[in-house]
């Protein structure tokens, strides 16, 4: 366990203006809208810094792609640095936040943006091994950290 922050000086961006969704939006209800998903995850707090994943450009609107026909959601995020050891925690936060947000048969794949992490393949493998994810979320320390990242914006 390294002392001090992995990335002590992250670059912080202004929050993008939020577009209000019209009430008579034809895409409401059944459809899974990437922007709706983005709205749910953009404010997740980074595990190490008091900023949201959006503010640190870890996530952007382009991070989410949805294939309605196949029932697949792909989230691509960009860790702030190449050797980010919090990448798997961010993955856990994303899965936990999105847990009950779309029809049960939808599959979620989470990856780091290509070229954004030194151990890209290894990190992607761990992020998508559902048994590892399940076990990690049962670990009280990780659970605590995830809860803080998800709910601190509501405090």
């Amino acid at each position: 366990m390294t002392l001090g922050l992995i990335n002590a000086n992250p670059v912080v961006h202004a929050k993008k203006e939020r577009v209000a969704r019209p009430l008579d939006d034809p895409h409401a209800d059944d459809a899974v809208d990437p922007l709706e998903i983005y709205d749910i995850v953009r404010d997740i707090r980074d595990p190490e810094h008091p900023y949201s994943l959006e503010q640190l450009s870890v996530l952007s609107e382009e991070s989410i792609t949805v294939d309605e026909k196949l029932g697949r959601i792909l989230i691509t995020f960009t860790p702030t640095i190449q050797h980010c050891s919090m990448a798997t925690v961010i993955g856990l936060c994303l899965r936990e936040k999105l847990k009950d947000c779309f029809p049960a048969h939808f599959k979620v794949d989470i990856k780091v943006a290509p070229g954004s992490h030194a151990d890209e393949e290894a990190v992607n493998k761990q992020l998508n091994d559902k048994e590892r994810v399940a076990a990690a979320l049962e670990n009280p320390n990780l659970r605590q950290l995830v809860t803080e990242c998800l709910y601190s914006s509501e405090l």
Partner: protein
């Protein structure tokens, strides 16, 4: 009865509800389901419990007869009956393996095996019931000797896998142990006499092996073929020489026979070979697929074909598929949707085709 010429249907008989979280595994109790003995099935779940289901002789439907709870403190990942059916072993993310005995109307935990550093993922009893193997995320495989009075003694801790070990399975006839892992390999472990266990073969990418996590393996009835399934979206069939295996002289090497690719587009979590030779797979696309050997393949180069695909078998990922060994063509499946389903493989007469 030829598996090549006939058409089949997988008929859903019943949906077993009760678990409060995803169901990871199911296991049929040996020596049940025929000769008037009702079929019994165990299931284990993320809800930390194990349920035992029994088929009613009059109605044919399965009912939950017992809930094994307040023992494991985390997800119960897999369960396995001893060959006699007297004991049920359960592996948990709480790093322990519990052994249960049927006492009267209930099940009692008679032993707890500790030793793994973290999540235990799989257990397997050998054919005679004298040995138990466990494996887990700590990359090790443990072999335990079954002693009188429900005592268990660890006889070996096998290191070799470089990552999380997902499943262990004893050979159906010989005391040879197989394990598969997140490190993409399958390892074969044998004894040198006197509790000296070591890895005698590793089936890796270079041997036509898998290119991602291997989740499960299953043997055919004669024990000379093995099917493995993986996150790399393929099923692989491996073979070994039966006579060499049985002679016990040195180890019989396993060779890649065939790769079934293009049939799955999400991780395959489970594979199980029935006594009749039908291979069932359960995958993350919510479907169950059945494969059988071609009738006209060469003896040395058998080919396999898709017998049927059951789309939307469950509402979510299928984690486990298990054929009953009772010869009644029943298949049990477990899913992230919290249910277990009982299926029957029905053969359709002559010109009847399954509805599209």
């Amino acid at each position: 009865m030829s598996l090549v010429d006939e058409s089949f249907e997988l008929k859903e008989l019943q949906v077993l509800e009760g678990h409060a979280d995803r169901v990871w595994s199911v296991a049929w109790k040996p020596a049940t389901g025929f000769d008037g003995v009702p079929a019994v099935l165990a299931s284990c779940s993320g809800d930390k419990t194990v349920r035992v289901w029994e088929q009613s002789p009059s109605s044919g439907s399965f009912q939950c007869k017992a809930v094994l709870e307040e023992t494991h403190t985390r997800t119960v990942r897999s369960c396995a009956w001893s060959p006699s059916g007297k004991l049920l072993a359960t592996a948990s993310f709480d790093a322990t393996t519990a052994v249960w005995e049927h006492v009267g109307d209930d099940y009692e935990c008679v032993s707890t095996l500790e030793g793994h550093e973290n999540e235990v993922k799989s257990i397997s009893w050998n054919a005679s019931g004298s040995l138990l193997a466990t494996c887990g995320r700590d990359k090790s495989v443990w072999i335990w000797e079954v002693l009188p009075g429900n005592e268990f003694e660890c006889v070996s801790v096998l290191q070799g896998h470089t990552q999380d070990v997902k499943m262990v399975q004893w050979h159906p006839n010989m005391d040879i142990l197989f394990s598969c892992s997140y490190d993409n390999t399958i390892k074969v472990w044998a004894e040198d006499g006197d509790d000296d266990w070591h890895c005698v073969q590793t089936l890796a990418e270079a041997n036509n092996g898998h290119t991602s996590t291997v989740w499960a393996l299953s043997f055919n009835a004669t024990g000379d073929k093995m099917a493995t399934c993986s996150d790399d979206l393929t099923l692989k069939i491996w073979g070994s020489d039966l006579l060499t295996i049985q002679s016990g002289n040195g180890s019989a090497p396993w060779k890649h026979i065939c790769t079934l690719s293009g049939y799955h587009d999400r991780t395959i979590f489970s594979v199980h070979w029935s006594r009749e030779g039908i291979i069932a797979s359960g995958a993350a696309d919510d479907a169950i697929r059945l494969f059988a050997e071609d009738g006209d393949g060469l003896v040395d180069e058998p080919k396999y074909h898709l017998l049927l695909k059951k789309d939307k078998a469950h509402d979510m990922d299928v984690n486990s598929v298990q054929w009953s060994s009772a010869g009644n063509r029943l298949l049990a499946s477990a899913s992230d949707d919290g249910t277990i389903k009982i299926w029957e493989l029905i053969s359709l007469a002559g010109d009847q085709k399954p509805p599209l």
